[in-house]
Symmetry: C2
Subunit: 410 residues, 2 copies
């Protein structure tokens, strides 16, 4: 099946800088029958800090179970990722594949096994041969550097384009680079959909601080997007800091004000990658941004936003360029949160459609229909007088979603 | 837009018997521009008991708010239902429409206003003129009896066929009839999707018992189906018992053993209507039955069943006749319930696909692919050694779902 590149894809893969302390390469190790690269190895210099968030699925893959076990150690020397097979629901066989992979790396680069991160993405329930991977580890290690574009491409499954992003910041006069790659297009829902994202930075920072910053950032990015409400067995977001750029006064407290600068730059990368995943949502033709304001907490705002973002009826209405805003009301209702109707207002684009619990007098369907033809649709919902807000991204639900998913494995 | 009759529709509308103590008719009152009937009035004899379950949406329609207010009274003399407009998110204007409708009925048949049930289904957010309804009430009242088929047809929106069902039972030598009509095809999710169902019986039974039986029955029927996971603003299930068939020893306790006989017959009607709604799921080509066994409670079993039933990836796989059972595992994982993998087994049809946390040795993809061509797909999941189980029904997710919902209002 030929899947065309998403119309929401960026015009080209961005130009991403090198990150000090990292070397990486990709290869085809034989998991995919095509010659497309399906395995990446990233090695990192000694002392690299690591943080990792993982799927909340109760049916996690073998690699997810492994990462859960080691992330408390807070250090990384290697990251191995394969596409084409999720190594999920593969029982003890799957655990063994991870174990063999990790042992091979430990032998090769002489690190602690708790420093080896593993992730897999692809079909669930099929056994993943560890031999395919271990036989290729030495080759891939010696192969030399691949580009970010090659790395981003090798971890793709149904993605129609490779996803990368970068940002930088300056702390104490020193430049810090942050580069990330990601994959994901369906089964994408907070906590987290079939998505992998790996972010690398050269800053020196202890892992407990890295973990806290990653958690905050993921809530505002990967946990604020949805394609189809399905949650994968395999999702992994890793953040690695090599420590090439270090400071006279090292970071030792989460309250260190310099961290705000880094956090803003990090969140830029996370949100950029998250938006790219939505833009590659299976069959997506339109990007939908939902902004919920006036809530008593960010959690409430996000819950309502996601309820709207996950509604197939809202998403098909957007696909049909139909300003059927009643479906937004319906979708808000199922979030289970009481909203004082007198304070509620809903706008699409700059067109206010509903206020105080009913349609606005000024509302013009013609105007809204015209707006719905845009490639980016903005929905603004104000639910009260609270100080909190949340932005959620999703895409429309089109024929191509059905086409892709009814035929994916065949 | 022409919507073809669902391939899962029954061959014809069933032959439904009269229910003593009820008179009913349908009419076009002008809400729909076509001449299709859009208003029904059912009047019931004095002393009719009533029970009612309603949507859990936090954005309920004006009629839902009204029914919430009166259902504690436990009596009914009239039921007014319109299609074409949901009277939802219409503010005080909507409340007034309900009030005027109720007052008109009270004047006409001299009943208590708490005995007048109102329901609306159709587009959300458009004002519903009370004049259209009140002007037609006298005409419709005098019109004389319509058939069950006409009643079921008048409450349809995007339904491709009219839904009715009946059953009977014998208590103390007396025959009892139960007849129900329903509508619903999209926005169908427990608690409850855009669905209306009205069930009429001639038994004499106090309303507190009727309420308890309805609640139990709805959990095993309308709360166990899903089309798209969306929840409507308007769902209403009313159960009315006219009391024409009475007993020397009236029902006075919920523990009366004779009630089991009635409950079984009632649940037959509820489940029959629920399955018909799924069979009319927007774009449905296949009926999916998910049976979850071995759970510690019915609630847990239903939660897992609904998580699978609500997964777009499972539903598109079934649409594509693809036995991609890994998606069932994924969907179970997102239910948030820990399952001991050693005890887990999954079968599709009679083909066991997974046992003890990985694929079965005996599993044959060829055999499964052949099974997937059936019109009814059965998924059996055993999650442990518990005594509880739940059956959930859904349909596949096809191109026609998108076609219908991207164009519904236009």
């Amino acid at each position: 099946m030929l899947i065309k590149k998403s119309p929401l894809a960026p015009s080209s893969f961005p130009n991403l800088p090198k990150v000090g302390g990292i070397s990486m390469s990709s290869i085809n190790c034989g998991i995919r029958k095509s010659k497309k690269p399906d395995l990446i190895l990233v090695t990192m210099q000694e002392g690299t800090s690591a943080a990792c968030t993982l799927t909340k699925s109760k049916m996690p893959s073998a690699p997810v179970n492994w990462c859960k076990k080691i992330r408390g150690y807070g250090r990384a020397r290697a990251l191995v990722v394969n596409s084409g097979n999720a190594n999920a629901h593969t029982g003890e066989y799957g655990e063994l594949t991870v174990k063999n992979t990790v042992n091979k790396i430990v032998d090769l680069i002489k690190c602690n096994k708790n420093e080896v991160y593993v992730a897999s993405t692809g079909v669930i329930g099929e056994k993943l041969s560890s031999k395919l991977i271990t036989d290729s580890i030495t080759t891939i290690y010696k192969k030399g550097d691949s580009s970010w574009k090659e790395i981003a491409s090798a971890i793709r499954t149904t993605d129609t384009f490779s996803k990368g992003a970068s940002s930088s910041c300056k702390i104490d006069g020193k430049n810090i680079r942050i580069v990330g790659v990601a994959k994901g297009s369906g089964m994408v829902f907070p906590n987290m959909g079939t998505m992998l994202a790996f972010i690398f930075t050269d800053i020196e920072i202890p892992s407990f601080i890295l973990s806290a910053l990653l958690k905050q950032g993921v809530d505002k990015s990967f946990n604020s997007i949805t394609v189809d409400g399905d949650t994968s067995t395999s999702d992994t977001c890793g953040l690695f800091a090599t420590g090439v750029v270090n400071f006279k006064k090292p970071f030792s407290k989460i309250t260190d004000k310099r961290l705000n600068i880094f956090s803003i730059a990090l969140n830029k990368v996370l949100q950029n990658l998250a938006r790219q995943i939505v833009c590659d949502g299976e069959g997506a033709k339109k990007l939908i941004t939902i902004n919920v304001r006036g809530a008593k907490s960010e959690k409430i705002a996000r819950k309502i936003g996601l309820s709207v973002a996950n509604s197939p009826l809202v998403k098909t209405a957007v696909a049909g360029e139909d300003g059927n805003w009643g479906r937004i009301v319906m979708a808000m209702g199922k979030a289970g949160i009481s909203i004082p109707l007198k304070l509620l207002s809903i706008s699409i684009g700059n067109i206010k459609v509903s206020e105080a619990g009913l349609v606005c007098n000024s509302y013009s369907e013609t105007k809204l229909s015209k707006y719905m033809k845009n490639k980016e649709i903005q929905i603004d919902i104000c639910i009260g007088k609270g100080d909190h807000s949340s932005i959620v991204w999703t895409c429309d639900l089109t024929h191509d979603y059905i086409r892709i998913n009814a035929d994916y494995r065949s």
